[in-house]
């Protein structure tokens, strides 16, 4: 066990069956730790089924310092259900801590209890979770709270503050629900204080995070990517959202269904994803900001409309929160396997903008940027989230609201443009001034057919070339105002350069820091902007790396293929399709191999 000091950083996993309060316990723990001033990153792994016997894991990393990745192995495993927890033991560190139910309702068969399966170096604490919950509330539902009580006692956390966090969580429920939960927590706390001899070294006693966040309280948001996308969209003047329910993007629609009407906008639940993107393009044509969200299967359906957005030059924003694929795939597991679909999906020469946030905070920036770029460049913008970014929870500083120039981006024709108005005028920037319906003198005909500057169908070779080139010129203009890539590590020549994207980027940047601690010279590069891609910057970065490593959550290395073509040299790949987020530990291990 590491010594506990102000650099405390631990991972706690609560494992139970769906419906046992596993996720709620994780949520309360995260909120409590955040309120105490720690950085948190948490996510839940759960089955697609609503309730039943599926395994649930609430994973929380708590740190006094900034967190970039969720951490691969747990320091602490709380087993609410022995059957499921046994399979979670492999994610517990050597010498980690196990908290289990010492008096389960039905005694386990020999070797079927989690404590019997844990290895010899595991520090195991048996707490009668069920018995204490029964004692506190007359039923076993509060076992999760008993476990949190035990955790609080063991690690010298603030009992009263924790009690308040529980009260906050159940504040809107009946008093009996609040009492049952609080009493179960206190039973667990008291029993543990009384009966457990502490054998580990984890203690939060006297630990104060480096920059005390007490004064920032209230400014901190405890939020996941989906919630932040919805918040950003509202801040960026979204007025229309159309969607069709699909995991893991549904939550965005549900939040906006509440919030959009309050902001003068409209939410439309459509009959399918084709209709959703069609309505978004229709609303964009009408001159308001519009967006839809989906996952792989829905994105596949939307593909026919993505071409129309580009061809007819109509703004459209699609969020694709990736899950395991192809086809229906694995709805509740994270993956980065829609890269090719987002970048290249569809027919024809079809330039589009693709953004991939690299962490929770950048979900906000990406959404604001996407709505701006779609409107200004009259084109398709895809935001690639994934199950992990959509659902993992961080406590972050409240993002700064978008600048006014980000909110009103349409380039309208001036009086000179309107005389003999050409909707698809050939320009250097690729942007043709756009009227919106209702503007006298600005009437035009839009079509998915190739067309001339007036929008009239035109199939000549010269015309097609000129229009295709014009549409592609938008890429250069977009790149000129793209956010700079994030580069970490040393600025010198390095042995290993890690190039990453999306939710894997945090782990890559963290890995470079860890590797540096081991004497490996390394640097990391990631870009939120995938299309157009900052080719010059990535080529320059690759130029000072002896070896290149590209870690990502898909089988073949879709991004690695893409980068290889740009930097024109082979790269090392690190691919996982485990359904778990990228782990810094795995990247570091690969780097050690490469040295």
């Amino acid at each position: 066990m590491k010594t506990i000091d102000k650099d405390i950083s631990i991972v706690i996993e609560i494992c139970g069956s769906a419906g046992e309060g596993t996720i709620s316990a994780g949520e309360i723990l995260s909120r409590f730790m955040s309120a105490q001033g720690f950085e948190i990153m948490s996510f839940d792994a759960y089955p697609a089924e609503i309730r039943g016997f599926g395994k649930c894991v609430a994973h929380t990393r708590v740190s006094a310092n900034p967190i970039y990745s969720p951490g691969k192995l747990a320091d602490v495993l709380i087993a609410l259900n022995d059957n499921h927890a046994i399979s979670q033991l492999s994610a517990l560190k050597k010498g980690g801590i196990l908290i289990y139910d010492s008096q389960p309702p039905k005694p386990h068969e020999e070797d079927q209890s989690v404590v019997a399966r844990a290895d010899a170096v595991t520090i195991s604490y048996g707490v009668p979770l069920t018995m204490l919950a029964q004692k506190a509330a007359g039923n076993a539902r509060g076992r999760n709270m008993v476990a949190l009580g035990a955790l609080t006692a063991l690690f010298h956390l603030d009992r009263d503050a924790f009690t308040n966090s529980i009260k906050d969580r159940y504040g809107k429920k009946k008093q009996i629900v609040i009492d049952s939960n609080v009493n179960s927590f206190l039973e667990g706390f008291d029993w543990t204080k009384e009966n457990i001899d502490k054998a580990d070294t984890i203690s939060f006693q006297g630990v104060t995070p480096p920059q005390s966040k007490a004064e920032q309280k209230g400014e901190k948001l405890i939020i996941n990517g989906n919630q932040l996308v919805a918040k950003a969209a509202l801040d960026a003047d979204l007025k229309f959202y159309a969607g069709y329910p699909i995991t893991p993007a549904t939550k965005i629609m549900e939040i906006l269904s509440k919030e959009l009407p309050k902001h003068g906008g409209t939410l439309l639940q459509t009959e399918d994803e084709i209709s959703a993107i069609g309505a978004v393009i229709g609303a964009g044509y009408g001159g308001i900001r519009a967006m839809t969200g989906t996952s792989g299967p829905g994105f596949a359906l939307m593909t026919e409309f993505t071409g129309l957005s580009v061809m007819a030059e109509m703004p459209a924003v699609i969020i694709d929160s990736q899950r395991g694929g192809p086809s229906t795939g694995i709805p509740t597991k994270t993956e980065q396997s829609d890269f090719n679909a987002a970048m290249f999906g569809g027919t024809g020469d079809c330039p589009r903008v693709v953004l991939a946030p690299t962490d929770t905070t950048s979900c906000y920036d990406a959404t604001v940027l996407a709505l701006y770029l779609a409107e200004k460049y009259q084109t398709l913008v895809v935001i690639l989230l994934d199950f992990f970014l959509s659902n993992s929870i961080r406590n972050i500083d409240t993002p700064k609201k978008p600048a006014p120039k980000m909110l009103n981006a349409n380039i309208a024709p001036d009086a000179a443009d309107l005389a003999g108005y050409q909707r698809y005028k050939i320009t250097d920037s690729g942007i043709s001034p756009r009227t919106i319906p209702g503007t006298p003198g600005g009437m035009y005909f839009a079509t998915g057919l190739e067309h001339d500057a007036n929008g009239r169908p035109n199939y000549t070779d010269k015309g097609h070339l000129a229009m295709t080139a014009k549409r592609f010129r938008k890429h250069a203009s977009v790149l000129a105002e793209a956010p700079a890539p994030m580069i970490s590590g040393t600025q010198e020549m390095v042995d290993i350069g890690v190039i990453s994207w999306g939710s894997s980027a945090g782990a890559a940047h963290e890995a470079v820091v860890t590797a540096a601690g081991e004497g490996i010279s390394a640097a990391a590069f990631s870009s939120m902007m995938l299309s157009p891609f900052p080719e010059k910057q990535v080529t320059a970065f690759a130029g000072r790396c002896k070896k290149i490593l590209i870690p990502e959550l898909n089988y073949t290395g879709q991004f690695a293929d893409f980068v290889t073509k740009i930097i024109k040299r082979p790269v090392e790949r690190l691919n996982f399709i485990t359904g778990r987020p990228m782990a810094a530990e795995d990247i570091v291990e690969k780097m050690r191999e490469m040295i």
């Binding site: 409209t266 006298p440 009437m443 169908p457």
Partner: protein
């Protein structure tokens, strides 16, 4: 954008009375336009009395058409449809309906799909969006929800609306989105040269079914009624006045208006829905008296009167989608 010189004559057919002088040819005084038109043509027609008489007739007709002032809704582009196509009649009725409703050009949005009907917005002097095959309804829905101030039309053929895009129709109808949907129903895929569509009758020989269509056709009126459309009507491409009345009524209706137009495909359908067959069979609906608010009689008419034209059903009380959203918002 007005390509056809308009004059300032307020014909009796103009319903509403705003001043159209802004749209008029500034050089033309009210009432003088026929004179100049006649004068020009008369100069060229010299000598032959019969020619003069014919020229006089044409001039008179041209003058009449101009006086009706509806061609301003036509764009300068010449339609690409085959000579004799029923769509010319539909568009004539459409222009006239726009004129009589006195719609401002810039507030009209015509959204179409793919097929012969897909080209329609090109020929309208307004905003227009030629979208994807089967997808005029989703785009028109988004547009209307974004911009309630616009008058939104969606146009589609039978293959477009009932085949590839058939999944959208139930939902626009049950949501009662306030758009006017015009189904150009020629019961054939024309632009791809004569394949069976969702409304091609059973056993009709087509290029995709040379020994006879094995599929039972859909009944668009029954579908529209079953889906919950609040306005359902049928017109005939050979009856511009009738279609005009339906398009006007559909446009004024607050909610989803479904208008099927029976029209021939003169090039790829020589046996089924020909001008001759339509002319012989089309008649006015007579099952409704006094008002078409009876679903049962509408369904019966949909079943029994395949060539009956008129309004099958209209629910004037039902709120549109946006009305409902407003009610819900205000109720909070």
């Amino acid at each position: 954008m007005n390509t056809v010189p308009t004059d300032a004559i307020k014909s009796g057919s103009v319903q509403s009375g705003p001043d159209h002088s802004a749209l008029s040819d500034p050089g033309t005084e009210p009432g003088t336009e026929p004179e100049t038109a006649v004068g020009k043509t008369a100069e060229t027609a010299t000598g032959n009395a019969a020619e003069t008489e014919q020229a006089g007739y044409l001039d008179e007709k041209i003058a009449q058409v101009r006086a009706m002032d509806f061609l301003q809704y036509r764009s300068p582009d010449l339609p690409t449809w085959c000579p004799g196509c029923g769509y010319f009649g539909i568009m004539d009725a459409f222009y006239k309906a726009c004129r009589e409703l006195d719609l401002a050009h810039e507030n009209i949005c015509a959204v179409s799909g793919i097929g012969c009907s897909g080209r329609t917005p090109i020929f309208i002097n307004s905003y227009g969006f030629h979208t994807l095959h089967g997808r005029s309804i989703p785009v028109a829905t988004g547009l209307k929800l974004a911009r309630e101030d616009l008058t939104v039309f969606a146009m589609a053929g039978d293959g477009d609306a009932l085949g590839i895009g058939g999944g959208h129709l139930p939902h626009v109808a049950r949501k009662n989105i306030d758009i006017t949907f015009i189904l150009f129903d020629n019961s054939i895929y024309g632009l791809t040269k004569g394949q069976s569509s969702s409304t091609t009758p059973y056993e009709t020989k087509t290029n995709s079914h040379p020994v006879g269509n094995p599929d039972t056709p859909l009944n668009p009126i029954k579908l529209a009624l079953a889906y919950g459309s609040s306005f359902v009507a049928r017109g005939y491409a050979g009856d511009p006045e009738g279609m005009k009345a339906l398009i006007k009524a559909g446009t004024l209706h607050r909610g989803f208006s479904f208008i099927q137009i029976l029209t021939p495909c003169v090039t790829f359908d020589k046996t089924n829905r020909t001008w001759k067959a339509l002319k012989e069979n089309v008649c006015s609906l007579n099952l409704h008296a006094p008002a078409p608010d009876n679903m049962e009689s509408a369904m019966r008419a949909a079943e029994n009167e395949p060539y009956g034209t008129g309004i099958f059903y209209q629910d004037k009380e039902r709120p549109s989608y946006q009305d409902i959203l407003r009610q819900k918002k205000n109720a909070k």
